[in-house]
Assembly symmetry: C2
Homo-oligomer: 828 residues x 2
């Protein structure tokens, strides 16, 4: 890597920007616009040399022009200022439709040719470059993983600014320029992302320079922010905590050089203001570095800037009509073709490209070199900067298990101690994200070694516990969108993290997940993109234990959602049942790359069943027979029935069902199976890491009834086992949207996942019921009815806590349930 | 209904608010706080009369206190001002955790007892009221459908302000007070919802009064907005277009009466300001009624206001520690119990309740009566105000079908003409919502009769086409969250609408959908809640035709997502294949109530296959055999194979496959089935509207191969047909996340949904292949390979347009494809 020795946050000597530089910027802008238009329209003859006809125009004109010239303008100027100051910077493009512009930029910086050598810097290369855009076998129309320098696609709008801040965290010398389109600015996630400045430490984090690009129009409408009175516009951004500079250009006949001079001067003012802020905090402790009003730029320019002012008698430049392909009939009609020719010629390509079609040196003379090129900055290919985490030994955090089902603990609190030390060991390479739920989800041990970052005002330590100007926990903003966006970018720039959320509300980011999963899936197929740390979800406060909240907080469907994006080992779903299995799970997931790990775990006091060694072995297998919970005798012979489980509450109820059955019908042979790696039960046809039919049958049997007690919506188990020979024998119990707000035991009763119902289901599927069995059947039905009346109408003691696994029961009537006392700090 | 004759927007005579009124307000506030605390803590002895012990405290203390006293304060004052002015108003509570407060309010207004007569206005009734809260068999802890006066649960945060504006649209005399918690204010959807004022017509719509409640804390953290410097806070809301009034109380020892006087005076100022705005627009045309700076209130008060200042030596009132249940050990420890007793006694219950436990008259003397009570306002039970739409006859919009597969049309454009007249016929009872996609999704015919509502600035008619100060299309804001929230509330207050979105990005509102579906599901089970108009989604720009955008815009998974909420007929999914079937679908869905209708339809030029009568008949059946596309002879005998289809692109490809097969192997007997009502293929066990096994087998056969060409992710078809006897014979082809950005035909090729692959799959599953068949097999493989090379590497002509159904082909080589020309206005 060349030129990695950047100099951060220098001020520029107070000398005017040279005319030659401004002339070069103008040529660069024309060249990048030309190359952008060329990609959208031209099939061949990229420089219009010799005979240039409608046959040189693509048959299908797809893509978007409107946002592109503004992006090209900004890119030119950011490149100049970066070169002038040797400032490392990356560029995040909210308007993904500007794909052609970013390809043009990296082509002009040579990064494109370095990355894709067939795209040579001559007429033949240009022809290929133009042709491939949004073309069969070519590249996507957006700023995609294929685009060097990008960590953000912008296909779905709303996340650019969150990504920018996530990239800046713990990168104190990095400038992240973020272009926010005025369409995107109307989305919810973007509208709240401006407050990210309350979580950025001016000393230990990098700088985000937001450029709000008011080109005035979306698809077919004006934009709100472009149509506010100026006092409202400026107030809004002052209110968000910025110092906004408005820059307007392109609406009159001002000379381009004059525009460039004005913008370059503004950019130097803004960069100097940033340098001053950075200089002020240089000598203070990070915990004393207070939030400044960060500068931002509001750039007003015409949508489609430099395209024809009118087409077919209708205003095009400066209107929504330039959003997509303004000359849709350029191949079909001579009139549109001639307009296109004139448009292309307006950039004077012969001044920009030499006789070989190579870009002339004065077009690019002001650009930075090596890694200073935004399209080559290593932060935008985070895998090459990724360092392994320094992980502690999970055995040091293990719950001792003297008897199975003893050692009642909150699983996520057990994990919390481990995560605390991951935080400590990796002070600039690991963060914990969450929407105000870190303590609720029991990860508060992390506060022993770090702060929750908070750059808004303080009142007093009596209420502001664990808040600090900097810190590795980022959870003081109630926005799943923000937390997801920050962590996505933290991952994509090569750092590690964990996102803890309530299970139900992780659906808030369903669509962000879709986009991120598509990005990672595509990146895995691009050789030059190196693997980045995985996205780790910790979903707690799950469907079965919404005691304080009830129906509105119950939804286990994120698992279903992520599986629509399953591809090779991209998506993983884990359902650890206790503290030790959760430790084993996280030890592994934190070491993976380019994956999305969904871990669902309880935060309520629950028994520990496996020692840490057993937990580790179980995790490695993914699916295990738990002999100690099975009743099929010392010979471990064929069972009468298999009870399979996945998830902590279902496993507890299923164990209780076994306990009941083996008391009532000692001769019944039950095999007890627990699934921790949910996708392991898939066949190897669907999942290379799945089980062969032989392996599956060896555990689940090919022909015995399988009663499957599952954490989520039952259908998923049928889907995952669809091709198994025994799939007809699988009877799944899970969440069926029978919500309640009262006791955990209500939940399992209402959703038919309780011990009695599971035991009855076992009896239902035995090949034959003896008369004795019928008595048991009746007894269980009565017990269930009694429990129902008791829990649903009578009193509010949580029956579920009364049951303990026999080993623990034999030890003591009162197992170690001290951890069950909720403290005031454990709100939910 | 009493007192419906309200007087809107009157100013109050300038006389001071009487001391007796202020004294009543204070008593009311104490009473509502007492009843709130009682619900959270007390199992029995609600008025602490006689022996009051720890046994009177609930075993499990669940629920949330922190937000409640502020809500009660606001409710008291809004009631006073509503009574004073005879102003119809509803109340939307962002903080759903304030459930106890809203139950207390409707109990004090008598609405609760009118709705639930067992909750009598005496000590016995109070005991029941307290006990039922978040208790087995009782009511949810949130402001839920069970709560009279509510249209908003607030379980998941972010949507209160969108709901408030949606309720205000077309209700010119309705005041919608919206309490936004400072936690909720940090979410993305809420942060952008402030801009809803750019879509509210001051004359023809109602008024939203936002009250931002800065109680300072979320679950375990301070809130951002409460910790901004005041200039930033005020700037922010001025920037959002409001005139903010800050009111602070509760942080010192100011007398409560003094606080009430100040707040009541402020409220009168604000209501007078609103009355002035309304008066100004009274005489102007709605299209001239310009956006004012609407007033709003920022209320700073301590979280947990009036609870103990300290508990266990830690600050509780005015801190996050009061968020949930501040005295978690009130049953377990004498110290906490005594604190609770003191807290309850601080409200002086004996001054509030008489010897029978009935609320004393002076506590409630200032409250409004009848429908003026916010808990009894009919707008909050919209079903009782719902009027049927005046629907035109779909035959007037039908596409003539002289030959099958002729009459190429854009299906959604056909629907657009019909929707135009629904708009025209129902000027205050129907709106079209969408995130800047109305024209892109081809519903622009609506602009012939209405405007896109726009209350931001105008430039000129050259660019501001179809914008107006008022209008029935609400699509000029790029936020799926806003559009969804507005329409939800428009529905819940009894009006009709349609939400058109790109299919992929509807996932943005996955989580909102979850909450809305839960609300409707629960409401259907509450007798006094009357059915409201259904939520109608029109998903276009679908996965198969993202020609301009590609992979990031491809996701058909919303169908999978909604099905996790299937319950009775709550969820419906329709996949019409052409303009006529889409008309038939919408004619029906617009007449349904209390449902969620997901309609996926193409916007690209496509053949029309069914006449309007056939389309209507097909829609009524839900699933039909298309004899005209089948090849199993005149006797309609048993086929060799069934080709089933759902969705426009899969149907087109499957018809092409039949065309190929019947040419190549005339003796092959294919039955062609189309599914328009997707859930119809379910069994009646899963769906009361599904098909019996006999009905299913009569169409799909119990034993023949079924090649199913499906619009979305293939697994869903397996799920829906899981219990069918022939389910092993079903071979589904659908979207497998093979994205591309080029031609439609690439898409079907890459995802194995193309005509060649479908035809080959038929051959694969025929019981035996003759030598002649093997030749055909080879021929098809070659044709597919050739198509792949052609489309993926060679040229960019969309092969898919070359194929037409034989009948249309025989008529003309050039079918009516004029509609295929994209105009500049049809951006996407």
């Amino acid at each position: 890597m060349a030129n990695t020795s950047t100099v951060a946050w220098q001020k520029r000597p107070a000398v005017p920007i040279g005319d030659d530089t401004l002339a070069s910027i103008e040529k660069y802008w024309r060249a990048s616009n030309y190359i952008s238009v060329g990609q959208i329209y031209l099939l061949s003859n990229p420089l219009m040399r010799g005979e240039f006809t409608r046959d040189d125009v693509k048959h299908r004109l797809v893509g978007h022009w409107g946002t592109t010239p503004g992006l090209n303008f900004i890119y030119a100027h950011m490149s100049r200022v970066i070169a002038d100051r040797n400032q490392s910077g990356i560029y995040i493009i909210g308007p993904g439709h500007g794909g052609p512009g970013l390809v043009a930029a990296s082509y002009l910086e040579d990064t494109y040719t370095e990355t894709y050598p067939e795209m040579t810097k001559d007429e033949a290369g240009l022809a290929k470059l133009f042709r491939q855009f949004s073309f069969p076998g070519g590249i996507p129309s957006h700023v995609a993983p294929e685009t060097p320098g990008s960590i953000h696609e912008g296909g779905e709008l709303g996340y650019s600014l969150s990504h920018a801040y996530g990239a800046a965290f713990d990168n104190p010398n990095l400038l992240v320029t973020c272009i926010i389109g005025d369409g995107e600015a109307e989305t919810g996630p973007l509208a709240t992302a401006w407050h990210s400045n309350k979580f950025l430490n001016p000393k230990t984090d990098g700088v985000v320079l937001p450029i709000l690009h008011l080109n005035g129009y979306k698809i077919a409408n004006p934009t709100i922010l472009a149509r506010l009175p100026e006092d409202e516009l400026l107030s809004l951004f002052h209110g968000y905590g910025y110092n906004p500079y408005i820059f307007t250009a392109g609406f009159d006949d001002e000379d381009h050089i004059s525009i460039h001079r004005r913008y370059a001067e503004l950019l130097d003012i803004v960069l100097d203001e940033i340098a001053d802020i950075k200089a002020r905090v240089e000598s203070v402790d990070a915990q004393e570095a207070e939030r400044p009003l960060w500068p931002m730029i509001i750039l007003r320019s015409p949508k489609g800037w430099t395209c024809p002012k009118e087409i077919d008698g209708k205003q095009t430049e400066g209107s929504w009509r330039s959003h997509q392909v303004p000359l849709a009939s350029a191949r079909d009609t001579e009139e549109h073709f001639e307009t296109l020719r004139g448009w292309l010629e307006s950039y004077k390509p012969n001044e920009l490209f030499d006789e070989n079609g190579t870009v002339r040196p004065d077009v690019v003379s002001f650009l930075p070199k090596g890694d200073l090129r935004m399209s080559a900055n290593p932060h935008a290919n985070g895998g090459i900067l990724t360092k392994d985490l320094v992980l502690p030994n999970i055995k040091d955090y293990a719950v001792p298990v003297d008897v199975r089902g003893g050692s009642v603990r909150e699983a996520t609190r057990v994990l919390g101690s481990y995560i605390r030390d991951v935080v400590r060991n990796n002070p600039t390479n690991f963060r914990v994200f969450g929407p105000d739920e870190t303590a609720s989800n029991r990860l508060q041990a992390t506060f022993e070694v770090t702060n929750k970052v908070w750059q808004a005002d303080y009142i007093s330590p009596r209420v502001d516990e664990h808040l600090g100007r900097g810190g590795q926990v980022v959870d003081s903003m109630l926005s799943e969108h923000q937390q997801e966006g920050w962590l996505e970018a933290y991952n994509l720039t090569g750092r590690h993290g964990l996102f803890s959320s309530y299970e139900a509300f992780i659906h808030v980011i369903d669509s962000m997940f879709n986009q991120h999963a598509k990005w990672i899936r595509t990146s895995r197929e691009i050789e030059w993109r190196k693997p980045v740390p995985s996205m780790n979800y910790l979903l707690s406060s799950h469907v079965w234990r919404q005691d304080h909240n009830g129906f509105s907080h119950q939804d286990p469907g994120f698992i279903d959602h992520v599986l629509n994006k399953q591809h090779e080992d991209l998506i993983q779903v884990y359902l650890p049942v206790d503290g030790n299995t959760l430790l084993a799970t996280y030890e592994y997931t934190l070491q993976t790359r380019d994956r999305i790990n969904v871990v669902v775990a309880g935060k309520q006091p629950a028994p520990t069943y496996l020692s840490i060694d057993e937990a580790t072995a179980h995790f490695k297998r993914g699916v295990s027979i738990w002999d100690w919970a099975s009743t099929n005798g010392a010979d471990k012979g064929e069972p009468d029935v298999v009870i399979a489980t996945a998830g902590d509450v279902p496993t507890g109820e299923a164990l209780a069902a076994v306990d009941i059955l083996k008391t009532e019908i000692p001769e019944i042979k039950i095999r007890f199976v627990n699934v921790i790696n949910l996708l392991k039960i898939q066949g190897i046809r669907e999942n290379p890491d799945g089980m062969t039919n032989e392996q599956f049958d060896a555990i689940f049997t090919p022909d015995k009834p399988i009663i499957f007690a599952y954490h989520g919506y039952p259908w998923l188990i049928h889907r995952l086992t669809y091709r198994r020979s025994g799939h007809k024998n699988i009877h799944v119990r899970g969440f069926i949207e029978k919500g309640t707000t009262t006791t955990p035991f209500d939940m399992v009763l209402l959703n038919n996942l309780d011990r009695y119902h599971l035991a009855l289901t076992v009896l239902d599927h035995l090949p034959s019921l003896s008369a004795a069995h019928l008595d048991v059947y009746e007894k269980l039905r009565n017990a269930r009815q009694e429990a129902k009346e008791f829990t649903l109408t009578g009193d509010d003691i949580p029956v579920v806590r009364d049951w303990v696994w026999p080993e623990a029961r034999s030890l003591s009537n009162k197992v170690d349930i001290d951890a069950t006392v909720l403290t005031a700090g454990d709100n939910e």
